[in-house]
């Protein structure tokens, strides 16, 4: 092949001189040479030379096109030449006078630059005028290509905006569409702040809502939504409501478009609008024009002038609220499930805005439960669930038939979502309660596989509606009581379900004196295993037994006895009052307190709209809570060994949380804690994988496990010590994880350093015991088991003979509990800074001590914490300095001070780098750190990023 090189090159060159026809054969062989990885470098270089020369010589557009293609192939397959290719194409580009070829060269350049970052700066040399001139040429394809790729080039946003805005007038619909897309892209870059420009863009997008082309209208809807948002943000406070209503109504006018894509886009956009007047919202649920919108006409006068297509509309904003009439009615009965889904989805966000709207929307949503499409039904249920969590779900009797119908739906998802809603639902009268119970019982009969969840739901709704339970149980008592032959009919699921319902009654706050016959509790004891399995989220078997036996003696239960932790966040009216401290009322409080606070406050449904900040905050809190809840589910996957899935989920959680990072409203500390927890779970999952029965011929390096365990240890330690204000439950949770890690360490013969681990084990257990006692918290199963077998483990502490079975059993008894973040932990962290050091090293004289002026900021460090400054040159050259907080001033939340850190043993060197870090002594860790010169006595946990300090010897002059 390569022998032909000469002829190939000749052929190519000949093109430029005499022969006008393209020698495609030569080009094809050139290309095959380029993409063949075994072609020698010299050949490629020769080809490159030829092509470059050719590029300079020829003017024939078709030949140039192919040459550019070949050159870009060279750049991609032989990265060492990419720089050269880049420059030769670039010089050609500057000479070229054909727009089409310029565009092609630019495409080649930008794709090379995107691969090779070092060349990106060379792109910056091309000025805006050059880029923009491309799309002012007559070639439409270049124009649309350029507009859709404009963001790849370094063009100033305002220039880009002008170009995009101008081309929305283009006669070619495709160009208009791309220009609108470009405007949407620009709106996200948030550099445009000029009010007039924003308004201009918005108006232009509004004009294009009437375009004849479907795709343009679709893009216009996106643009109206985005620029409308910016417009609302840019106007003065008093006009915000007006504009956001105007944008909303504008979008509503598009929901009756004939194109499905436009309708979907319109509904998606509706859901993104954060503030809308209640009367307009209500209008969207009624096809008839409501009096309220008729009279007030909040959006301009009723003077719609004739607007024929394409005609310039001077009055952009004369739009009436009645345009919004029935938008959601239409959306929910649309022919396309995509539209119905999208309509349900936007209701999801809009129902937060107004309780009245939510109530009306529910009438429609209930009907959607009869939809053909499973996706839409599920979406509707999820929207209802969301409404329930916002306490906006007001279910009426007329809804019950439809709603309870979903309990016997074919789909598992539908059933379980319906039950989730039922858990939160407030049932106002006995009839509704009765029908709900009947629905659940029917669900149980038809789908026995749902038993556990149904029991748990029964228990929850029973707990919320104690009075009704008593009535119902009276009615059913015949069924529950043993039949006349003295035979208990307890194997019937129905009876079991009724028993679960019955035993929930004494826990109801409404039912202080419970009139459930005490023998029913004794009956329930016979089904202990089954019931406790179903209620495992609420209590364990022992607690249940204790509770049942207590109740079978007397049915008066004082809530303060607190048999069970309430499931906060899932029951709207549970009695969590005692968990709320007065301090918990501030906005910056943590997740659950906020939840509770929200429930206790009477909802001001009339004015819920303008400040959504609280909502946003609780959104984050909710999201964190949800993630914690989901992590619980993950454990199941871990045990199954679906590691890829687990890691993917954890990653997605992390990404989700990361989106809140910029949000100043969220307590960064809570987020940090959640991140830490996610890290721990990830490591634990990774470690756990090593203990699963090997699936295939997997091989792990021993070092890897050791490394992972080390990481896990460190992260757990950070979790334990770097957060202040953890509740006892939370601390116990962390302790349990540490215990598991110890057991894991012990289980691998090749790893364990028995004595240290055992010592740690017993220490943690005793600490846990202390916490249990102090907080009167029921210890976890795992901890109980571990305590029992601790003695056994200990006796075999000579290493090799440690009982593998015992440990295995212990590990089996462990399962990840749901982490309930009740308060807001304070993240202990620190920052070190040494301004100016990057450019100018600190002077020092070797052998003499040097003082390093560090600017230290400490967050949430109390004066009891013992902090150490660690300074390392290399492993052998390490010094610790104690940071005396009493001299630093400031409060516990933030302390900021400058500390002159002395470093004594400066080595003989011209310059050196000192790595400085702050560590905190772990209170409960053992003393096993041996330092020679008065360093810390306990293990340290490092609370800041390591900072590099540069020192330079003072030059002798």
């Amino acid at each position: 092949m390569e022998q032909h090189l000469g002829s190939v090159c000749e052929c190519i060159l000949s093109l430029s001189t005499n022969d006008k026809r393209l020698n495609l054969r030569a080009l094809a062989s050139a290309r095959s040479l380029i993409i063949n990885s075994s072609t020698s470098d010299s050949t490629i270089s020769a080809l490159f030379e030829t092509l470059t020369r050719f590029l300079q010589l020829t003017t024939e557009p078709r030949a140039l096109h192919h040459t550019l293609k070949l050159l870009s192939d060279i750049a991609f397959h032989h990265s060492r030449l990419s720089g050269l290719v880049f420059h030769s194409v670039r010089s050609h580009l500057l000479r070229s006078d054909s727009t089409r070829l310029s565009a092609e060269s630019l495409a080649v350049l930008s794709s090379i630059a995107e691969h090779d970052r070092s060349l990106a700066s060379a792109m910056d040399d091309l000025d805006d005028r050059f880029f923009v001139s491309l799309c002012f040429g007559p070639s439409v394809s270049v124009r649309s290509w350029f507009l859709s790729n404009a963001f790849r080039f370094p063009i100033r946003p305002y220039v880009l905006l002008t170009v995009m805005l101008g081309f929305t007038k283009d006669p070619y619909p495709y160009v208009r569409r791309v220009a609108l897309d470009g405007l949407v892209g620009l709106s996200k870059s948030s550099v445009i702040e000029d009010c007039g420009v924003i308004e201009g863009c918005y108006c232009r997008a509004v004009e294009l809502l009437g375009d004849a082309e479907d795709s343009v209208r679709c893009a216009a809807v996106h643009a109206v939504s985005e620029w409308g948002k910016m417009l609302v943000a840019s106007v003065q406070e008093m006009n915000k409501r007006y504009w956001s209503d105007a944008v909303f109504v504008r979008l509503c006018s598009m929901v009756r478009d004939m194109s499905m894509e436009v309708r979907v886009a319109a509904f998606d956009a509706l859901g993104k609008i954060g503030v809308v007047s209640e009367d307009i919202l209500l209008q969207t649920l009624s096809k008839r024009v409501l009096g309220i919108t008729k009279e007030k006409k909040p959006l301009g006068q009723c003077s719609a002038k004739r607007k024929s297509l394409g005609q310039y509309i001077p009055k952009h904003f004369d739009i009436q609220a009645c345009v919004a009439a029935g938008a959601f009615v239409h959306g929910l009965e649309d022919e396309f499930y995509e539209v119905r889904w999208s309509a349900c989805h936007s209701l999801h966000t809009l129902t937060i805005l107004s309780a009245k709207f939510a109530g009306e929307a529910l009438n429609l949503l209930m009907d959607v439960l009869n939809d053909d499409s499973l996706n839409v039904r599920l979406r509707a249920l999820e929207t209802m669930h969301h409404m329930a969590t916002c306490d906006h779900l007001k279910v009426q009797e007329t809804h019950m038939h439809m709603f309870l119908g979903t309990l016997v739906d074919n789909s598992t998802f539908i059933r379980s979502t319906a039950r989730k809603i039922l858990r939160l639902m407030k049932l106002h009268d006995l009839k509704m309660f009765q029908s709900s119970i009947d629905g659940l019982l029917e669900n149980l009969e038809v789908y026995p596989q749902d038993e556990a969840d149904i029991f748990s739901v029964l228990f929850d709704i029973g707990r919320n509606h104690g009075n009704f339970v008593v009535c119902i149980i009276k009615k059913f008592s015949q069924e529950i009581e043993p039949s006349c032959e003295g035979r208990l009919d307890f194997d019937s699921v129905r009876v079991a379900a009724l028993l679960v319902l019955a035993i929930s009654a004494p826990l109801s706050e409404a039912q202080k004196v419970c009139s459930i016959p005490s023998r029913i509790f004794s009956y329930a004891v016979t089904l202990l295993g089954r019931i406790s399995h179903a209620l495992k989220d609420v209590m364990n078997q022992n607690t249940l037994l204790a509770y049942l036996s207590h109740c079978s003696k007397s049915t008066i239960v004082d809530n303060s006895e607190s048999f069970f932790p309430m499931i906060e966040g899932d029951i709207p009216n549970c009695s969590c009052i005692d968990m709320i401290s007065p301090a918990g009322m501030s906005l910056q409080q943590g997740a659950s307190e906020n939840e509770n606070q929200k429930r206790l406050e009477p909802r001001k449904s009339a004015t819920p709209l303008l400040d959504c900040q609280l909502e946003v905050h609780s959104e984050v809190a909710k999201s964190i809570k949800l993630i914690l809840l989901k992590i619980n589910d993950i454990w199941f996957l871990v045990q199954k060994g679906c590691m890829a899935e687990v890691l993917r989920m954890l990653r997605s959680f992390r990404e989700e949380l990361a989106t809140y990072m910029s949000d100043s409203l969220v307590s960064a500390d809570t987020l940090a804690f959640t991140f830490q927890y996610l890290r721990v779970v990830k490591l634990l999952a990774k470690v756990w994988e090593h203990f699963l029965p090997p699936r295939k011929t997997q091989s792990y390096r021993i070092g890897e496990l050791n490394l992972l365990l080390g990481k896990l240890d460190r992260n757990l330690k950070e979790m334990r010590y770097r957060f202040r204000g953890l509740s006892k439950e939370e601390e116990l949770h962390v302790l349990e994880l540490i215990l598991v890690t110890c057991i894991l360490r012990l289980s691998k013969v090749e790893i364990c350093c028995h004595n240290a681990t055992l010592k740690k084990l017993s220490m943690i257990i005793s600490h846990a015991e202390f916490l249990h006692k102090e907080g009167s918290i029921e210890p976890y199963n795992f901890v109980v088991e571990l305590k029992k077998s601790l003695g056994e483990i200990d006796t075999y502490n000579d290493g090799a003979s440690c009982r593998p079975f015992l440990l295995k059993r212990l590990l089996e008894s462990f399962s990840l509990k749901q982490f309930r973040l009740s308060g807001s932990p304070k993240h202990i962290k620190a920052e070190i800074d040494l301004p100016g050091n990057d450019t100018e090293p600190l002077p020092f004289i070797s052998g003499l001590p040097v003082g390093i002026p560090l600017e230290i900021t400490l967050y949430n460090v109390s004066s009891e914490n013992r902090l150490w400054l660690r300074m390392i040159v290399h492993e052998q050259l390490m010094e610790f300095v104690f940071l005396d907080l009493n001299q630093s001033g400031g409060c516990d939340e933030v302390r900021k001070f400058t500390f002159m850190a002395p470093f004594y043993r400066t080595p003989k060197a011209m310059s050196l780098t000192l790595r400085v870090c702050i560590g905190m002594e772990c209170l409960f860790e053992d003393v096993n750190l041996i330092t020679d010169c008065g360093g810390p006595t306990r293990e340290l946990v490092y609370i800041c990023q390591e900072k590099e300090v540069y020192l330079g010897m003072i030059a002798k002059t």
């Binding site: 007039g196 022919e335 074919n410």
Partner: protein, 649 residues
């Protein structure tokens, strides 16, 4: 050019739809229906109005039928076979398939049962159908050189279509009956955004705004479910086509989801045959049916079995669809007689029931006994559920369609007069579109679009290829209303593309119109370019001389010396630039703002000077010239100058 619309039927009434439209010399008949309420000559449209000589083949270019309902197709065999029309007839495939069934059914009822004189025979129907050309949705049919028609999906019934017709530049749409919301088996009407001169739309529910259909479906399902759960039997009397399939899909889905095992029966006959048609014509159904079609044909009802007479008295619950609707006789009456006496059973009546039928009696009031005839009396103890589903769009749907299409004119047909009047008012006031609702045999004339073809010059084409946009700030009225009290900038940025503005349309006698670029115009007509220049000699006060005496430059009493000329100009420049900002430039001999030149006027008598101005002693004169573009600015500057006093520093 004008479009003429002659309404032969369904003008201010419902029944015998027929409209003859003449566009640019082409005549199209839309629908050819019969009125079911009359038995005399009023049953058919008055075809004589189309052509006095009864030569329909030359009078009419084609017939378009929108769907198979008799009030839209009923008179077709009569018109073709009896009146003798033999031109092309267009309808969709399903309409072509189902129309003969409907026509034959009607003919049989009329002739066999009621013993009336036959208006057309079975043969006529078959012959007529042979002339029909079937079209597909969105298929553009070139009827002849100038006339195109295209069908769009209309919902309503299987195969219903709206028709678009275009002759030359004039275009219109005739909707027939349509539905803007989908139901369980048919989709919603769907049409492109077209440039229309005329829209002829039905207006059956011109004032009704219907709520979501879901609520009624829910009530229906609840009633049926409750009845069968309690062991009762449900009778649903329906017509064979349409409603039966819709309800059946609804029930079949519900059965599926709820795991119900109660049998659903179809009484044999037309329904089974109709189901077959539905199964074949899947592409005319709604999106869901189409989507799931590959895995499961929605008309293959899973829970439906065919009914056997012996099952009428079989124990246990069941659901039965029986023809005809309204329980006007036949099988549904037979079953009703047997099932009505039990209170466990349910009769569901979908849709409207004609007065006089048992269905009507059941829905009005709660009769306990119904006299079938003199001898037979049925005691009615069963539950009655009425269901009102309509396949017609409601007022909001009509408005939505009109708004979406934005035609220049609307004609309402197929509705009741007072309601049409109200809808007309709404269309005119809300959408600003002219609207008519002619009575039968009336003609409406509307102007139509006429496009003129023009040549273009190459320069114009070239300039049109390159974008040439400008940004202009204009004041938006609405915003003005809102923030009128604020003093902030209330202009809105707008984009203009100047390409069209640069073209000039030239229409010369006996020549084709031509568009040229503005630069070419002079060349073409062989004339020189003229600029209009304005001039005004403006006096500027210099106060009394005593006050200026102290100045450096000497002033002779009457003449301003040439050397001072510049000084005055400088002085004026200084004054003006404080007022105008940096726009003004000083060129020594003159000042310039855009095209405005200002120089000192030394003439005693200047043609641009007004005589009633101040005397020379107290003023310096400045000659100002400017071109048209800066008229406003120029007068603004002049008014500033006139109010100046150069002597005050």
């Amino acid at each position: 050019m004008a479009i003429e619309c002659l309404v032969l039927g369904a003008g201010q009434e419902v029944g015998k739809s027929c409209a003859v439209v003449t566009i640019n010399g082409k005549r199209i008949m839309f629908d050819c229906g019969m009125h079911m309420g009359y038995l005399d000559h009023r049953r058919f449209p008055d075809f004589s109005l189309i052509s006095k000589s009864a030569d329909f083949n030359t009078a009419i270019d084609c017939i378009v039928i929108t769907h198979f309902h008799l009030d839209h197709v009923g008179a077709l065999p009569y018109f073709t076979e009896v009146c003798g029309y033999s031109g092309p007839i267009y309808m969709t495939y399903p309409t072509k398939a189902l129309s003969p069934l409907m026509l034959e059914d009607y003919r049989k009822v009329m002739v066999d049962r009621r013993g009336e004189q036959e208006l057309f025979s079975n043969d006529d129907i078959m012959k007529c159908m042979k002339k029909v050309i079937a079209v597909d949705l969105k298929q553009t049919v070139q009827v002849d050189k100038d006339l195109q028609i295209r069908a769009y999906y209309a919902g309503h019934v299987l195969g219903a279509a709206m028709f678009y017709a275009k002759v030359g530049d004039a275009a219109m749409v005739y909707t027939g009956d349509y539905n803007m919301t989908p139901d369980r088996h048919l989709g919603a009407a769907q049409i492109d955004r077209l440039q229309l001169d005329l829209l002829i739309t039905e207006s059956t529910y011109a004032t009704t705004v219907r709520d979501s259909k879901y609520a009624r479906e829910r009530e229906f399902l609840k009633a049926v479910h409750k009845c069968v759960a309690d062991g009762g039997k449900v009778l649903i009397p329906t017509f064979a086509l349409g409603r039966a399939q819709e309800l059946c899909i609804l029930l079949d889905n519900y059965w599926e989801r709820m795991n119900l095992k109660v049998p659903i029966y179809f009484s044999a006959g037309l329904t089974i045959q109709a189901n077959m048609y539905y199964k074949m014509l899947i592409s005319w159904t709604n999106q869901r049916v189409k989507e799931t079609y590959a895995t499961h044909n929605a008309f293959d009802f899973k829970n439906v079995r065919s009914f056997d007479r012996s099952l009428i008295n079989a124990p246990g619950p069941c659901v039965l669809f029986a023809t005809p609707g309204m329980i006007s006789g036949g099988f549904s009456l037979e079953v009703f007689k047997l099932w009505a006496p039990s209170e466990m059973n349910l009769v569901t009546l979908p849709g409207y029931c004609l007065a006089g039928t048992i269905g009507h009696k059941l829905t009005t009031g709660k009769p306990t006994k119904i006299d079938l005839d003199k001898d037979i009396q049925i005691s009615v103890r069963c539950q009655i559920h009425q269901l009102s589903f309509s396949p017609h769009t409601d007022a909001k749907g009509i408005m939505d369609l009109v708004k979406f299409l934005s035609p220049k004119h609307v004609i309402l047909v197929h509705g009741e007069k007072p309601k049409m009047a109200s809808l007309k008012g709404k269309i005119e006031s809300d959408l600003g579109i002219q609207c008519y609702y002619p009575a039968n045999n009336d003609t409406v004339c509307i102007p139509s679009t006429c496009w003129l073809k023009a040549d273009t010059s190459k320069t114009f084409i070239r300039s049109s290829l390159n974008p040439n946009f400008k940004f202009v700030k204009t004041i938006s009225e609405d915003k003005l209303n809102l923030v009128s009290k604020e003093t902030e900038d209330t202009s809105v940025l707008q984009v203009h593309d100047e390409r069209v503005a640069e073209g000039i349309l030239i229409v010369e006698k006996s020549k084709k119109a031509k568009v040229v670029h503005q630069n070419e115009l002079l060349l073409m007509i062989g004339k020189d370019k003229h600029d209009v220049q304005f001039a005004y000699c403006c006096p500027v006060q210099i106060g009394n001389l005593e006050r200026t005496k102290g100045m450096d430059f000497a002033l002779s009493k009457n003449v301003v010396s040439t050397s001072d000329e510049c000084s005055w100009l400088h002085l004026l420049f200084a004054k003006l630039s404080t007022k105008l900002g940096g726009n003004i430039q000083d060129f020594g001999q003159h000042l310039q703002v855009d095209s405005i030149y200002i120089s000192v006027c030394l003439k005693d008598i200047c043609p641009y000077r007004t005589t009633d101005g101040p005397q020379k002693e107290s003023a310096v004169f400045f000659c100002c010239t400017w071109s048209v573009a800066d008229v406003n600015l120029a007068w603004e500057i002049i008014s500033i100058m006139e109010n100046l006093d150069l002597s005050i520093i």
